[in-house]
């Protein structure tokens, strides 16, 4: 058997259905799952597109990378460009306006994911008819929940509009600061709706918790596997989604590194290339590519921080940890619960910020000594996002390297799919139940399939079974229900 022969079959780009995630499951001679792989079409050519562009354009330009998380790219690039202009010590107003924008983005993204994309799975079960298992079904059967999802998301989007100027392709962050503050009238409008948002966010944590605890027997082993975890935390260990130092722990909670200045990320993180995927596979250098891969995103962040600096979310975190006796949680399906804890935290942070008079300050930009190279990191809704730029003396970008959140979660998503395939594949048929479960496992990571797709409604998915000789044994395509 020639393994490379089986490999070439699956990456043939022409067999890709545009905007679909593609999964190949390879079987051995006994028709057992040997390996399962998730192929994601990554946005290509960006590194070349950006070459020669003036650096101050980059925070706006990078939003082209992704229609789903433009604000995260905007802010990660802006953080890098702060350093290029020597303005990384932002004024209090600039820092807080950016934080407000970021937590607004976190809120809208998490709300969309939980209420629109995932709640149908929870409310109707993985095996429910796809015709019912969608947001329209939720709106029919649980109208309150559907409305809350829409309103929470809208609140986050309005915060983005108020701080960035537009819901997408905003310009709020500029190198060394921001271009606007928050007028009192806008602040007051947000404060007025805040208690309601807080109430719904607490409710969302309860829904996620109760769902997890009630279905623990099914969910605990579902796509579960030990992994390392990586995220930014504050130097004192508290959760911070906008800025901090890098921390990584192993599956048991043992420190791999901590307090790392992300300007030096390349000393700690490397990217592996696989012949079957366009996507890179980041890993922790000291552990090597085999053992060094890690999870990012809500689960990693809740696992890694020592505490959450807002009371309601901190209480929720403590409750979350009772499930694992204080150890890191390695169950894929608990991403949802962790995500809702972050959603609650985001609303609490937004409240803290709105009460801060610095948001109305007028000192918006600082600049200092010019640099030619910089890294900007942020905890995007989907996980750690790396932007790295080299700028020449003429102010043009000459090199850039991005590691997007979904790429960081590449190996974990592959593991989760493999685990599900092992558990639920029966014979050489791709059953509806298997397809549903693969979808659920991938979705737990909230992959940005347009830093990868626009999967509203059902995730468009192609699943292929590949035999030991490389032949396709079965193929099943599901288009987006939207």
């Amino acid at each position: 058997m020639n393994p490379s022969a089986t490999r070439t079959v699956v990456i043939e780009p022409v067999t890709r259905v545009e905007g679909h995630g593609k999964v190949t499951i390879q079987l051995d001679e006994q028709n057992r799952v040997r390996q399962a792989r998730l192929h994601i079409v990554e946005f290509r050519g960006f590194e070349r597109f950006i070459q020669g562009r003036p650096f101050w354009e980059v925070p706006v330009l990078v939003q082209r990378l992704c229609g789903i998380c433009p604000v995260s790219h905007h802010l990660a690039a802006a953080k890098a460009m702060d350093r290029i202009v020597g303005g990384e010590n932002l004024t209090p107003t600039a820092e807080k306006i950016r934080r407000l924008m970021h937590y607004g983005q976190m809120l809208q993204s998490h709300a969309l994911h939980f209420f629109h994309l995932c709640s149908p799975d929870f409310l109707f079960g993985f095996d429910a008819d796809p015709a019912v298992r969608n947001i329209v079904g939720v709106a029919r059967k649980y109208p309150d929940l559907a409305v809350q999802g829409v309103m929470l998301r809208k609140y986050g989007q309005e915060i983005i509009r108020a701080t960035a100027g537009k819901k997408i392709h905003g310009t709020g962050a500029v190198p060394g600061g921001v271009n606007r503050n928050l007028p009192v009238e806008e602040r007051d409008a947000f404060l007025k709706d805040l208690p309601q948002m807080l109430d719904w966010a607490e409710g969302a944590v309860r829904v996620a918790r109760d769902y997890t605890m009630e279905h623990l027997e099914e969910l605990a082993p579902f796509g579960a596997f030990d992994s390392n975890h990586l995220s930014l935390v504050r130097p004192n260990g508290e959760m911070d989604l906008y800025h901090g130092v890098l921390r990584a722990v192993d599956a048991k909670g043992g420190t791999i590194f901590d307090g790392v200045d992300y300007q030096n990320y390349l000393d700690y993180i490397a990217e592996d290339v696989q012949p079957w995927s366009y996507m890179k596979f980041p890993f922790i250098r000291s552990l090597g590519p085999e053992r060094g891969w890690y999870r990012v995103g809500p689960l990693a962040r809740v696992n890694l921080c020592d505490s959450i600096p807002s009371p309601k979310a901190e209480a929720a975190r403590k409750e979350f940890f009772r499930l694992t006796g204080g150890r890191p949680n390695n169950m894929t399906m608990t991403y949802h619960w962790a995500r809702m804890i972050e959603l609650l935290h985001s609303v609490e942070v937004i409240e803290q910020l709105l009460h801060d008079a610095d948001l109305q300050g007028t000192d918006l930009v600082v600049r200092g000594e010019r640099r030619n190279e910089a890294v900007g990191l942020i905890e995007a809704p989907r996980g750690t996002l790396f932007h790295h730029y080299v700028v020449n003396d003429r102010d043009q970008v000459v090199r850039c390297n991005l590691i997007v959140s979904t790429t960081n979660n590449n190996t974990p998503m592959n593991r989760a799919v493999e685990d599900v395939a092992r558990r639920y594949l029966d014979g050489v048929q791709i059953s509806e139940g298997l397809l549903n479960r693969i979808e659920v496992a991938i979705r737990a990571y909230d992959p940005c399939l347009s830093c990868a797709t626009h999967a509203l409604g059902q995730m468009p998915l192609v699943v292929e079974l590949v035999g030991p000789n490389g032949a396709t044994l079965a193929r099943r395509v599901r288009d987006s229900g939207a």
């Binding site: 020669g52 562009r53 003036p54 101050w56 354009e57 925070p59 706006v60 330009l61 939003q63 082209r64 202009v85 960035a164 100027g165 537009k166 392709h169 905003g170 310009t171 709020g172 500029v174 190198p175 271009n179 606007r180 003429r394 102010d395 043009q396």
Partner: protein, 239 residues
């Protein structure tokens, strides 16, 4: 008693001072004729043809044509609007315009004209020309991807700044903005404060490191469509 010449634009009686172009007289009267290469502080040039009107039935550039007694000028006709719309669309496809991240967005005359004409996407295929960026100067950037060859900078540098930094080279589709120096802008005495930089209607000549300083919503054309400043001069019609 000052001498004036009377003529009409779309049937409205206009008084022009001798020596005024149709465009200048229309401006004073509060009638907007779209334009790109014309600028109030620069000598008329007649390059873009966006200001095309009909004078006694014949197409003319309003920015170069002197007003004359008894002229019958058509401005707001479906035919002329369509003609201008095509010209504007051509300008978009002849360059590389990505408004969504361009720092001139909201302050750009070409984009503002597109909005005024209700253009959302050009009908013509994009040509994706190969254009370059000159970032050599410490304070001024040239992004030729967005140059519309209006020659405002050429005239401003020659006549207002008295530096003569810019010129055109090449013909037809190869025509491009060039520098009166061996190679790059850094080899000239251009400065960020030059009028030449300020008058560029698009995001081609830019002050470095200033982009996006004005938030969305407060940019020039976020507030009012292009031409509305001129139109607001028009006395409210008494009917």
């Amino acid at each position: 008693m000052s001498e004036t010449l009377s003529f009409t634009i779309d049937g409205v009686a206009i008084e022009a001072r001798p020596g005024q172009t149709i465009l200048q007289a229309a401006d004073d009267a509060g009638i907007y004729i779209p334009r790109l290469c014309a600028h109030k502080d620069l000598v008329p040039f007649g390059a873009c043809r966006v200001c095309t009107v009909k004078v006694n039935g014949r197409p003319q550039a309003a920015c170069t044509m002197p007003a004359a007694k008894g002229m019958v000028v058509e401005n707001n006709t479906p035919e002329l609007l369509e003609h201008r719309r095509r010209l504007i669309e051509m300008l978009f496809v002849e360059g590389n315009h990505y408004c969504m991240f361009c720092e001139k967005s909201g302050n750009c005359e070409l984009q503002a004209l597109a909005y005024r004409f209700g253009i959302t996407a050009p009908r013509f295929p994009y040509l994706f020309p190969d254009r370059d960026v000159d970032a050599s100067h410490p304070d001024v950037l040239i992004d030729r991807n967005r140059c519309i060859l209006c020659a405002r900078c050429v005239r401003a540098s020659r006549d207002l700044d008295r530096k003569g930094v810019f010129q055109f080279v090449g013909r037809g589709a190869r025509k491009k903005l060039w520098i009166n120096a061996e190679t790059e802008l850094a080899g000239t005495n251009a400065a960020a404060e030059d009028r030449a930089v300020e008058v560029c209607p698009v995001g081609c000549l830019l002050k470095k490191r200033q982009g996006y300083a004005t938030p969305i919503g407060r940019r020039l054309y976020d507030r009012r469509p292009i031409g509305s400043d001129i139109e607001s001069r028009r006395p409210t019609p008494t009917t």
